[in-house]
């Protein structure tokens, strides 16, 4: 079973690598979203530095959800999902491994790009580190919450927007603690680790719970 899950992980990476787009496109989307903000808000450096972590987080949230609608849809269309159900490996673990591969492909590049883009928003070095750390800790929760939405909309032809509508409200706690831990890194009354630990807890909770919800949604799919 372990070998099956490892094979699945490499298959996901290999497919993404062959098809292209995936991770790189998420980063480009992230870049555009973040670099649009100063144009909209104006060149006020103090204001940008204050809202910078929030902008980076919202951009990361949207970029993460961008590719997630295809997470199970592609497998549902070509029949792979039927075969996953027939595999000795539990569907919950299949979901978790697919999410892990998706996270490596889309969220990890965002974490790497976030400090660079933070520079354009006039963030100071502690805030840059804070944003990167909070994204690293918080994006698994986004991916796994998104996986529930992706599983629910796997059978729908144009489920992308519906998935975002379903999932975005659920990401509010992640957003709150992500932004507050990024902001706490550059000073403030709250110590960094307080919101950061809650953020880690949110990610761990979704890692433990979301695969069950997503697998249940995939099993009950009427197709």
């Amino acid at each position: 079973m372990t070998s099956a899950l490892i094979a699945l992980f490499w298959r996901e990476l290999r497919i993404a690598n062959r098809i292209g787009g995936g991770g790189a496109m998420g980063v480009v989307f992230f870049l555009i979203l973040v670099s649009m903000t100063p144009f909209a808000i104006g060149p006020d450096l103090n204001l940008l530095a204050r809202i910078g972590p929030a902008i980076l987080w919202i951009a990361a949230l949207l970029a993460t959800l961008l590719g997630l609608d295809r997470l199970f849809q592609a497998d549902a269309e070509d029949g792979s999902l039927d075969l996953f159900i027939m595999s000795p490996a539990p569907l919950e673990l299949v979901v978790l491994v697919k999410c892990a591969a998706h996270w490596c492909l889309t969220a990890l590049p965002l974490v790497a790009a976030a400090p660079l883009l933070g520079l354009t928003l006039a963030l100071d070095p502690p805030a840059l580190a804070g944003v990167a750390a909070s994204l690293l800790a918080g994006t698994p929760a986004l991916t796994l919450l998104g996986a529930i939405g992706a599983a629910l909309t796997a059978g729908l032809r144009r489920g992308g927007l519906l998935m975002a509508v379903l999932i975005l409200p659920l990401t509010v706690p992640v957003l709150i603690f992500g932004v507050s831990s990024a902001a706490a890194a550059s000073g403030g009354t709250v110590p960094f680790h307080t919101p950061f630990l809650i953020l880690c807890a949110l990610s761990l909770m979704t890692i433990a719970g979301a695969p069950f919800a997503a697998a249940a949604a995939l099993r009950s799919r009427e197709a």
Partner: protein, 232 residues
Amino acid sequence: MSQSYQPERLVAQGLCVERGGRRIVDGVDFDLSAGEALVVLGRNGAGKSTLLRALAGHLRLSAGTVRFSAGDASAPLTEKAHYIGHADGLKAALTALENLEFWATMLGSAAKAPGALSPQAALKKIGLARIGDFPVGYLSAGQKRRVALARLLVTHRPLWILDEPATALDVVAQEQFAQTMAEHRANGGFIVAATHAPLGLVDAQELRLGVRPASGAKPTSSAVETSMGDWA
């Protein structure tokens, strides 16, 4: 050929499947001994695919049971069956060999099952050894289907559930596949197939779906033992 798991009979009793509130499959019974095949017949929309998807565990049975009568009865049927549906289950971006290698690992048990071919050997057997390094996206519909059928060979599972397996196959490939199915049955395997075209299954049982009496009476789906009929 010796296999770790060798059931003697496959018994289904009173299978019912509902979709969208309508009972599509109603009261299907069949009983296969090792090496026997069941051909599911019926017009479009009679419930052939629904029945097969339910057998494979993709749809819930609203009533009835289906299980192997001998061996490890507690093991779910889904893990003892291969399913070939309308979709091939292949990734266009991966090569034929990569697809097969993946499914061999994903569907196989931890111990390498005896009687299973290596992905290379399976491709050779279906006559596609030369295009193993080709991305599946470049293959023709018939070649894709043959790669999907090769999946039956890379892990051993006693029951093959085949939904229109011969779609897009040319005459030679159909004969080859009939030969492959015959070998599987000779090794004590089971086959349940839905088809509109003859598959070359000798001495198969027939199950006719959607045969409904004119008024009120209980719809029947009868499994009739036949010799080499039109469909065999």
